[in-house]
């Protein structure tokens, strides 16, 4: 059983090294763990830091956004026939101790996708973040008929079936909602596990802004109704 831990990184020199180091490499029932860093055209030392660590580094020549980086990671996992895939944010907002609880349901083989939901334990999340995420959850419900408490979480685990079926077309942050389109399309089973998010002033400058909602909305409308 091969596990890929996918870290999409764009200009994350400050946190990437520590994040890679903090991720445990051994899990029960998994023979091989590979950390894959997709460097999405960073202009800082992200690539250098990743190449010094013990990881597989995939480099985009141009910055294409989170969705594109995840898509590349999925494509690599498909080609290399990984059995499980876990996505982990490079900004250090996830607790490495949450990896195992998120991974466990996938290993049991009954679930296709596990989402580490940050909103099941709301503690220390800024209120404006909560509003933004709730808004996107409602949009996700309206568009894809899947209810989730945290559609924007970066900590997710995927089974082989999910890796094979999920086709990511979004380039930027709207990818988070796109996963639900794929869940609905391929009838994948979804489970949410509460995780803690570590919000630092650094990780808050990264990720989604509430004003992004309009862009995401327009892209989702396009994706849902107009794209081939």
């Amino acid at each position: 059983m091969k596990l890929a831990i996918l870290i999409p990184a764009y200009n994350e020199e400050k946190t990437l090294g520590a994040v890679i180091k903090s991720i445990p490499r051994r899990y029960p029932g998994i023979s091989k763990v590979e950390i894959i860093v997709v460097n999405d055209g960073s202009i800082d030392k992200t690539a250098k830091i990743a190449s010094k660590a013990n990881v597989i580094l995939i480099e985009h020549d141009l910055n294409r956004g989170l969705g594109a980086a995840l898509g590349t990671g999925f494509e690599y996992a498909r080609r290399q026939k990984f059995d499980f895939l876990l996505t982990f944010d490079a900004d250090g907002q996830h607790n490495p101790d949450d990896i195992w609880p998120v991974l466990k349901p996938i290993l049991s083989g009954k679930v296709d996708i596990v989402i580490g939901s940050r909103l099941k334990k709301i503690k220390n999340m800024p209120w404006y973040r909560i509003i933004g995420i709730m808004g996107l959850n409602l949009i996700t419900l309206a568009f894809f008929w899947v209810w989730t408490s945290d559609s924007q979480s970066g900590l997710r685990a995927f089974s082989r079936k999910a890796i094979e079926n999920i086709e990511i077309k979004s380039n930027k942050m709207e990818v988070s909602s796109e996963f639900f389109n794929e869940i609905q399309r391929h009838n994948l089973t979804l489970v949410e596990i509460p995780v803690k998010s570590i919000y630092t002033t650094y990780s808050l400058t990264k990720g989604q802004k509430n004003s992004n909602v309009f862009r995401i909305l327009s892209k989702l409308i396009y994706r849902r109704f107009f794209s081939k």
Binding site: G41, A50, S51, I56, I58, E59, N171, Y222, F226
Partner: protein, 136 residues
């Protein structure tokens, strides 16, 4: 028609200014087609097509009451209203096409970047040694 400019204009050239403008534009476009034909960018068939198109446009410009006819078809009072209405619809459609096109181009660029990354860019790094994984 009481404006002084129009009065002078009608002395010089007894057609509507907007008709004149459209005619000049059509003639200009037609001349471009002819130039393209001369420099062999388009062939004879295309030249005939464009000539036909622009000459009909000029003829249509001088048919009186056509916009009013259009307006009545759409259930509107004035011909000008109908023209603005149709123009806005045409613009919306153009924007919609552009939006779809730009999304497609965006996805194409991502595909290119992705294939390039997966073909040559993968490095399996171990400590300080960096060795390339063989190409797939």
């Amino acid at each position: 028609m009481s404006h002084w400019f129009q009065k002078i204009w009608y002395q010089i050239w007894p057609i509507n200014p907007i008709e004149a403008l459209l005619t000049i534009f059509a003639l200009f476009a037609w001349s471009r087609a002819i130039l393209k034909f001369r420099s062999k960018i388009i062939n004879q068939k295309e030249l005939i097509f464009w000539s036909f198109l622009w000459l009909t446009a000029i003829i249509i410009v001088f048919i009186p009451g056509k916009t009013t006819f259009l307006a009545h078809l759409l259930g509107m009072g004035r011909g000008f209203d109908a023209m603005v209405f149709l123009a806005i619809i045409a613009l919306f459609y153009a924007v919609y096409r552009l939006y779809i096109k730009s999304n497609e181009v965006d996805q194409d660029i991502t595909q290119i970047v992705r294939q390039m990354a997966l073909r040559g860019g993968i490095k399996k790094s171990q400590g300080r040694k960096v060795r390339k994984i063989k190409k797939k």
